[in-house]
Symmetry: C3
Subunit: 145 residues, 3 copies
Amino acid sequence: MKSKILNQGPERTIALIFEKGDDVVSLLEQYARDHALSASRFSAIGALRGAVLGYFDWELKAYERIPVDEQVEVLSLNGDIALDGDEPKVHAHAVLGRRDGSTVGGHLLQATVQPTLEVLLIESPGYLRKTCNRESGLALIDVDA
Amino acid sequence: MKSKILNQGPERTIALIFEKGDDVVSLLEQYARDHALSASRFSAIGALRGAVLGYFDWELKAYERIPVDEQVEVLSLNGDIALDGDEPKVHAHAVLGRRDGSTVGGHLLQATVQPTLEVLLIESPGYLRKTCNRESGLALIDVDA
Amino acid sequence: MKSKILNQGPERTIALIFEKGDDVVSLLEQYARDHALSASRFSAIGALRGAVLGYFDWELKAYERIPVDEQVEVLSLNGDIALDGDEPKVHAHAVLGRRDGSTVGGHLLQATVQPTLEVLLIESPGYLRKTCNRESGLALIDVDA
């Protein structure tokens, strides 16, 4: 993954271009840590050679895994980055498209790029913090934190 | 729903964090009215315990209702806010993900959050107005208005 | 298609409002050429009376065509514009919604609007260039170019 700043100012726009074989979630988390992102949002299109999506099971309080073992288009990939303690945390949801145009989507757990993923990330000067939500057990954005 | 301004300037970025039980459309409309939004766009991810989507029937000139009565991930939720007369009007389309990764989508008529919905809203200084489109009967954005 | 600038500054926000019968890809390309867009991103919602989507076949190195011959909601339409040589090149992926809420998606090859498509385009002051990727045969964004 390579990056390029497209706009300086209170909000910065950064293109993150992933290459074949790149692991999306770990590289996004790495970029977020390296650049201390505290309140960012992003959107992406491209293609993957495989992914694991998640569905949050409200009874089990855990993500059910949805493996996608085929070449798919990334039809939408939207997310945000907020602080969980001092660590930037990436939260992303994706809709993927198969050869026949049918779609599969969920919380993005893992994704491997092929041949490219074009992420436009906007870094805001403010910050967002996550706190543990008791009922779900998830760390959720808390604007009062 | 709580809000936090992430960026000041000609365009402001605002995080709107919805909580369990929040009704998305009515709270978005309320926020838009309270803050006199005249040209905004937004994108969101999160999860819902239920929703009603719509498909515009071009013959009947009315929305057919698509009820979604289960816990679903919000895979994408994109929209804009423009003025219809003096009132801000929210227009949003959503793709929702079920337990097996299958998707259902449409015009967002109603949605109840569980456990969270993270909306990033960008408020532009300009304005967009809607005027009634005769053929469809819908109020559509008209850049000359 | 008509346009309106919503925000001036280092990044400009422009509303592109497409009308019934407008061909999305050719008009977007035209707008990009006329305004010399070098690094833009966009997101849209609306409806179409038909479209042709694409799935990139990794073996054949070509797009398989997925025709959509019915009135559909544009649930998401995300993309970017980068330079391929001196020409702005539009890259967009879409998720479309049918009457029953089922979805179909892919790379946007062709789309005809009905009754409206609301595109919010953000033009960055930087530039992104595409170079030919040997393995796929596609022109991909190359931040070093």
